[in-house]
């Protein structure tokens, strides 16, 4: 019987969805537990610290000093670190509020101080190197499952490199951009979600972040302009999950 790998989940600031989604694997979670032994799956307080992980998973953005410490701790203690979910890989929605932290705090809490040491939200990958990044807000459960299975078998996880559009074609979904003139970011968004939103007849809002490489945001911008959407609207849409420049 092979030794099980030790797995830890570290939660920084986020909605909790990426951690919750692990539980939504239901019985397949038990399949994973054939290969993995679960360590902390929770905020590691300093009291809980110590211990080494073969695979660490980090979700959420760095939004406080506390998050930053936890992240560094997770990196130091994990051989293989996965940034899971768009918060961790690109910053997701909270990173798109483009004001300095003090102004943000003042606007919401009406206080000029920063007693709780908040930071401007940034993805985990901007602070530490990770071995695998799985975006998605939240990520697709299947992708995580396959990745963990591959790691357990010593194989390199599959890394999707095509846009959401490919998955629409495979599923034979009607193109909402061309047929219904809906603002859809599918052409420039990294696939891997099985075109979850286009299944509802709606445009992709870009939750998996931009397709790396030859993506053409300028072209997408022109298409949306052509459909009558205004420039500010389009740019904000582009920047919702990842702060990319169109």
């Amino acid at each position: 019987m092979m030794e099980k790998l030790k797995l830890g989940v570290f939660e920084l600031t986020g909605c909790g969805g990426c951690a919750l989604n692990v539980l939504f694997l239901y019985e397949r979670l038990f399949d994973l537990l054939e290969f993995y032994e679960m360590g902390e799956f929770h905020m590691a307080s300093s009291a809980q610290g110590g211990g080494h992980y073969d695979v660490g998973i980090v979700t959420g953005t760095v939004s406080t000093h506390r998050d930053l410490e936890l992240l560094k701790n997770a990196r130091n203690r994990s051989d293989y670190l996965i940034a899971l979910g768009t918060c961790a890989t690109h910053g997701s929605v909270q990173a798109s509020v483009e004001l300095p932290i003090r102004e943000k705090l003042k606007a919401v809490y009406g206080d000029e101080g920063n007693p709780m040491k908040a930071l401007d939200s940034k993805p985990a990958v901007e602070y530490v190197a990770v071995d695998l990044a799985i975006p998605g807000c939240p990520y697709d459960k299947e992708e995580l499952y396959q990745a963990l299975m591959n790691i357990a078998r010593g194989a390199d996880p599959v890394r999707p490199d095509y846009p959401v559009c490919v998955e629409c074609k495979l599923n034979e979904y009607e193109c909402v951009l061309v047929k219904r003139n809906l603002p859809c970011l599918g052409p420039i968004t990294l696939g891997g979600c099985n075109a979850a939103c286009v299944r509802s007849g709606l445009g992709c809002i870009g939750c998996r972040g931009p397709l790396p490489g030859e993506v053409n945001p300028a072209g997408e911008y022109e298409i949306l302009r052509g459909l009558g959407y205004n420039g500010d609207y389009i740019v904000r849409k582009f920047k919702t999950f990842a702060r990319w420049e169109p």
Binding site: V9, E11, L12, T13, G14, C15, G16, G17, C18, A19, L20, N21, L23, F24, Y26, L33, E37, M38, E40, F41, H42, M43, S45, A47, T61, S63, T64, R66, D67, S92, V93, Q94, S96, V97, L99, K104, L105, A107, V108, Y109, G110, D111, P115, M116, A118, L119, S121, C137, P138, A196, C197, R199, S200, G201, L202, I205, C207, Y233, R236, T240
Partner: protein, 415 residues
């Protein structure tokens, strides 16, 4: 001396309590929400209304649909859009799915180990495997409904101002009808199990809920007459917490399953009403711990109501048409019952339909003062009487009764 409680994590992200003791006497308890701020109110400023509900969904994964629906309702009210019965029923169905998913997760995986005397659900599973499976079955069904109405299990974008991207099919509604009936007996068993919980925490004096069962036009309290939150609820910032604290006429109050039952018993479905009557006396004492029993009764309500809605829609047939939305200057408030209580989304829009003002008040912020009051009462009774370990355990149970956001607690995850 300050006693810090760790591991207090089923508050949206990260929270903990601090007990202030001076000269051997308990002076104060502070509930600190230390999860990093995410600035949702700022995030939506200047954004086009169409994109806003999808952003607001990201506030919370356990109750994303409550946020989308509250957001959509606030926006529709700002524009003066009225949606037909069909759309209202489908939204209600989505909220029911969320109630099932959230309550089942909370009750079976977090609270049940307390009732049965285990330290976590996994340990409990060896002897009570059936029970854990029952909880998971309810949760999976709730998620299935969220997927149908919301678009996916977490953060779907199917709920839109004026209607939906996609409407459920006849087959899917038949599935809802069948499943809700099949699962009803599990929910009834849950009521028996959670009736075993004793009274602890503080006794709430004020209760607040929406005027409809899962959403409303206004709020109601024990007085009965409807009001807007601005008239009686005030929110203030705390130096020790990223979550704000709400007060009702300056006092602490309770939102959630218990207030819903107490204020809206008339709206309950037959079996849920019968169970409520059976437990009425205990529930009316107002101890926050009975919120868990109320949640169990709501599992029964949800399944009965989901069946009713599916049947109604199947009988009338699904029209599947959205209402046109004309953006314009306006102001609107969406009131929804998230599983853990009243959720408020308040917006003002400009003539292009962009958001110029936004205020979001979550149940955890509304219950915050009540949680502190409950902790204070427990600490005063226990301090010096029991060891620290025992005290921490009791306090955790008290906080758990509120089911503050993020139920993935230590209990669940120490495998």
């Amino acid at each position: 001396m300050i006693i810090e409680l760790h591991e207090f994590t089923r508050v949206e992200g990260n929270g903990r309590a601090e007990i202030v003791v001076e000269d051997g006497e308990v002076k104060d308890v502070r509930l600190k929400i230390v999860e990093g701020p995410r600035f949702f109110e700022l995030l939506t400023l200047g954004r086009h209304y169409y994109d806003v509900p999808d952003l607001e969904a990201r506030i919370c994964a356990i109750c994303y649909l409550a946020h989308s629906v509250a957001s959509v309702m606030g926006i529709e009210r700002a524009f003066g859009v009225e949606v037909p019965e069909e759309i209202k029923l489908l939204r209600e169905l989505g909220l029911i799915g969320e109630l099932l998913e959230s309550h089942a997760l909370h009750l079976y995986l977090l609270v049940a180990p307390d009732v049965l005397g285990y330290s976590d659900a996994i340990r409990m599973a060896t002897k009570h495997g059936e029970l854990v499976k029952e909880g998971l079955a309810l949760k999976a069904f709730g998620n299935r409904i969220r997927e149908l109405i919301g678009g996916r299990e977490i953060h779907g974008i199917n709920v839109k101002p004026g209607g939906f991207g996609r409407y459920p099919t006849v087959e899917e509604l038949e599935e809802v009808e069948r499943q809700s009936e099949a699962l009803l007996k599990l929910a009834k068993r849950a009521v028996r199990l959670f009736a075993g919980l004793g009274p602890y925490g503080e006794r709430a004096k004020h209760f607040v809920a929406t005027d409809g069962y899962l959403w409303g036009e206004r709020l109601i309290s024990e007085g009965g007459e409807p009001f807007h939150y601005t008239e009686r609820i005030e929110e203030r910032s705390l130096v020790y917490s990223f979550a704000k604290q709400g007060k009702y006429n300056g006092e602490s109050f309770l939102v959630g399953a218990l207030p819903r039952l107490l204020l809206k018993a008339k709206m309950l479905t037959p079996e849920a009403k019968r169970l409520f009557e059976e437990q009425r006396e205990r529930l009316e004492t107002g101890y926050v711990s009975y919120n868990n029993l109320a949640q169990a009764i709501e599992l029964v309500y949800s399944l009965e109501r989901a069946g009713e809605i599916a049947k109604t829609l199947l009988d009338r047939g699904i029209n599947g048409e959205n209402v046109p939305v004309e953006p314009g200057e306006g102001e609107g408030i969406g009131y929804v019952e998230a599983p853990r209580g009243v959720l408020i989304h308040h917006y003002r829009t400009d003539s292009e339909g962009k958001i110029v003002y936004s205020n979001i008040i979550t149940p955890t912020a509304l219950n915050h003062a009540m949680m502190e009051a409950s902790l204070l009462k427990e600490v005063r009774a226990l301090y010096g009487e029991v060891g620290e370990g025992e005290m921490v355990k009791k306090l955790e149970e008290t906080v758990r009764a509120f089911d503050p956001c993020i139920s993935c607690s230590v209990h669940l995850v120490k495998l």
